[in-house]
Subunit: 244 residues, 2 copies
Amino acid sequence: MRNIKLTVAYDGTAYHGFQRQTNALGIQQVLEDRLAKVFGHEFRIHMAGRTDAGVHAYGQVVNFKTTGTIPVERIAIASRSLLPYDIVITNAEEVPDDFDAQFSAVSKIYVYKIYQQTIPNPFWRNLVWTIPHTLDVAAMQQAAQIIVGTHDFSSFRASGGPPGSPVRTIMSAECELHNNILELSFWGNGFLYHMVRNLTGSLVNVGLGKYSIDKFKFILDQRDRKKAGITAPAQGLYLKEVRY
Amino acid sequence: MRNIKLTVAYDGTAYHGFQRQTNALGIQQVLEDRLAKVFGHEFRIHMAGRTDAGVHAYGQVVNFKTTGTIPVERIAIASRSLLPYDIVITNAEEVPDDFDAQFSAVSKIYVYKIYQQTIPNPFWRNLVWTIPHTLDVAAMQQAAQIIVGTHDFSSFRASGGPPGSPVRTIMSAECELHNNILELSFWGNGFLYHMVRNLTGSLVNVGLGKYSIDKFKFILDQRDRKKAGITAPAQGLYLKEVRY
């Protein structure tokens, strides 16, 4: 059995998240159903991380074992005509037998995109969070540095996720303008349920002047979700990269 | 009666073109139906130019006469909650009684977007023409200069459009890379049916090395649609601006 690692980009707008579900279409189901034809048998993929409904990915990673004989350099091309336009395999490689997309992951990078405009852009409606205010990016960048390092992120953890330690290590957190889009990027060894969207909601409050930087630090220190700001909407979030 | 001019941006993906139709949803119908609530009566809009199914606009222009009393500076905001996310009014102003969005137009700018990549971008699938080859942009730019000036564009006119002279004046035609997107922009006093998409199809043949620059000139001179290249797909085309 070969162990195949795929990197997948997708526009999550049309799907109910990544994971296979009973009553709604997840991206996992599309990949498994369509790729069965490429590999000649059914299989279950392991994913690096679930993404919620409406969340996107540039670099989701999955792996699976296969008896299929298609050369790895043919997989992306062979998949193209079978997959819908909003799911694209960007890379395929054969990996050692013990590689697991989830458990072998060392770190992940998420990006959250914000469009600061009173007039929404009709082309970006499902791809950014449009905020009709100008945010103080320098203050957001300063606040973001507070989360760098190892912290208890209970204040930014949504209920409903898997149990486990609320401690995570953030290697970098950056708020930068790229053309007209404010990009918040978070590189960490792992993320709690809704953690990036919850961090973004509170950082936006800093950008709006609703929170001082001290207040943002106070919220982190409280370890209490009720103290923090809103959950940023799903459509601005992208799983950018999984590192192994 | 006030004469109101609106500038409208839209993602044309979900619509069967701009014009109101009997059996399919046009953007005109959405605007007329939804904006009737803003102005307190039904009306018919005049549009600067029809766009086909799947074609987009940054700056479509429409006008209509109204007895409605809403101040112009309130129109865009009042419309936002009534219009779907993929249609946005970006400007509203009161214009002289004899202004007509179509007949008062002096020139228009269309942009055609091409993404040169073997791996499609799932976020741009409805917004660009993806070509899995690297195009010779310098050759395309050189060929595009041949259409600048006043010419008979019969070679680039589709059947099925309104009758009339095939002569149009192109003020500028540019092929430029913006980040990873090749943008072809055409500024002219008017455009024949499918003219921008037909010009783009033949310019892409120049970029692929299928046509020499002399061959492109020969095609223009032939005044025969059968001599030219394919019609570029709708989803890469944008009505960028209408000038008055």
